[in-house]
């Protein structure tokens, strides 16, 4: 459980330490890719809590979503339509949904845990 968190921190440190930055023109792509990645990440956490986690789905979903989002942004730029807004909207909604589900699942688990504790005490 702590390994992903550790890797996340390593990634953050790596990014900050190297002080990397990308040209302004590409920030749109990266921001949407980050959003897609976060969406996949939270989706993965939810699946884990629901005990439906499948690694293949998770990994493929991550890369596919990121690439699709970037591609959508690219098409949008080419056509002069702000298509990336569509992706931001979709991912944003899903992000919130996932977070809501995670919250509910955690609450349920906590209550279950309390009940179990009570039962063992009495």
């Amino acid at each position: 459980m702590w390994l992903p968190a550790l890797f996340l921190i390593i990634g953050l440190l790596l990014g900050f330490m190297t002080n990397m930055s990308i040209p302004d023109a590409y920030t749109n792509y990266l921001s949407i890719a980050v959003l897609a990645a976060l969406d996949t990440l939270f989706g993965g956490i939810r699946a884990q809590l629901e005990a439906k986690f499948d690694q293949k789905v998770f990994i493929s979903g991550f890369f596919f979503n990121v690439l699709l989002a970037a591609f959508l942004a690219f098409i949008g730029v080419q056509l002069g339509i702000d298509l990336y807004l569509a992706a931001i909207f979709a991912f944003g909604v899903r992000l919130f949904q996932n977070l809501a589900m995670i919250r509910r699942l955690l609450i349920e688990k906590y209550e279950l845990y309390r009940e179990v504790k009570k039962d063992t005490k009495s």
Binding site: L3, A5, F7, G11, L12, V34, L41
Partner: protein
């Protein structure tokens, strides 16, 4: 103990690593440090002095305008008309509608023949002439005339059918004379001699001869000043981007 470095954990870890990296890069990109003001005290002081000079000039202009206004108010009707006429004359002179004479320099643009077997007769273009006019203005010229055409604030200089037109009339082939009124002829000559403008003319096989004159008469601008299509330009604010 279960091996934490099994395939599944590592794969998820790499995904997390990527997410962290992307977030960090995005953060860095959005929080780039703005260019710092690297001027030292001396430079800032010089800039401040310049601004103060501009302010002083503005104050002087205001004072002059106020003085004129006071004159108008204090005078009798006859005197008022007189001073209005004076103002009109002053403005006409400023606009270039009167003949003007004084000391200055004459810039002669002449063809330069190199020792080559074959050479076309050199030509200049309007852009070069504009560059020269700008250079002269920067050097401190007060009034100018190209051949017999007075250069005023809205004088157009343009290429029309391989001819250079100033004030809507052609100035003909080289050699071309530009008369410049100035208070300090030597400064202009020095300025032009060290500036790159001579090289630009030389590229077109044109030489630039400067001669100091004690008495130059500039012709008046003889056309109607038409300000119908003149508009105020929105000057973009400088500084912060």
């Amino acid at each position: 103990m279960k091996n934490v470095f099994n395939k599944q954990n590592v794969a998820i870890g790499i995904v997390c690593l990527l997410v962290g990296l992307m977030i960090a890069i995005l953060f860095n990109t959005n929080h780039q440090t703005i260019d710092r003001d690297t001027r030292d005290t001396w430079e800032i002081r010089t800039a401040l002095l310049e601004e103060q000079k501009i302010q002083q000039n503005l104050y002087m202009e205001i004072a002059e305008a106020e003085q004129t206004l006071q004159e108008y108010q204090e005078q009798t009707e006859h005197q008022q008309i007189e001073s209005l006429k004076n103002s009109i004359n002053e403005l006409r002179e400023q606009a270039g509608l009167t003949e003007k004479s004084g000391q200055g320099i004459t810039v002669t643009l002449e063809p330069m023949f190199l020792e080559e077997d074959y050479q076309e007769y050199p030509e200049i273009n309007a852009e070069l002439l504009q560059l020269l006019i700008n250079e002269l203005n920067a050097a401190g010229a007060t009034e100018m005339a190209i051949e017999s055409q007075r250069v005023i604030n809205i004088t157009p200089i343009r290429d029309v059918n391989d001819n250079i037109y100033v004030n809507n009339s052609s100035i003909g082939e080289l050699p071309t004379k530009i008369h410049v009124l100035t208070n300090d002829s030597e400064e202009i000559i020095n300025h032009l001699e060290v500036s790159e403008i001579g090289d630009y003319f030389a590229l077109e096989n044109v030489t630039m001869n400067l001669s100091e004159q004690s008495d130059i008469v500039l012709p008046e601008y003889d056309e109607q000043i038409d300000l119908q299509d003149v508009d105020i330009v929105d000057v973009p604010e400088e500084g912060e981007s």
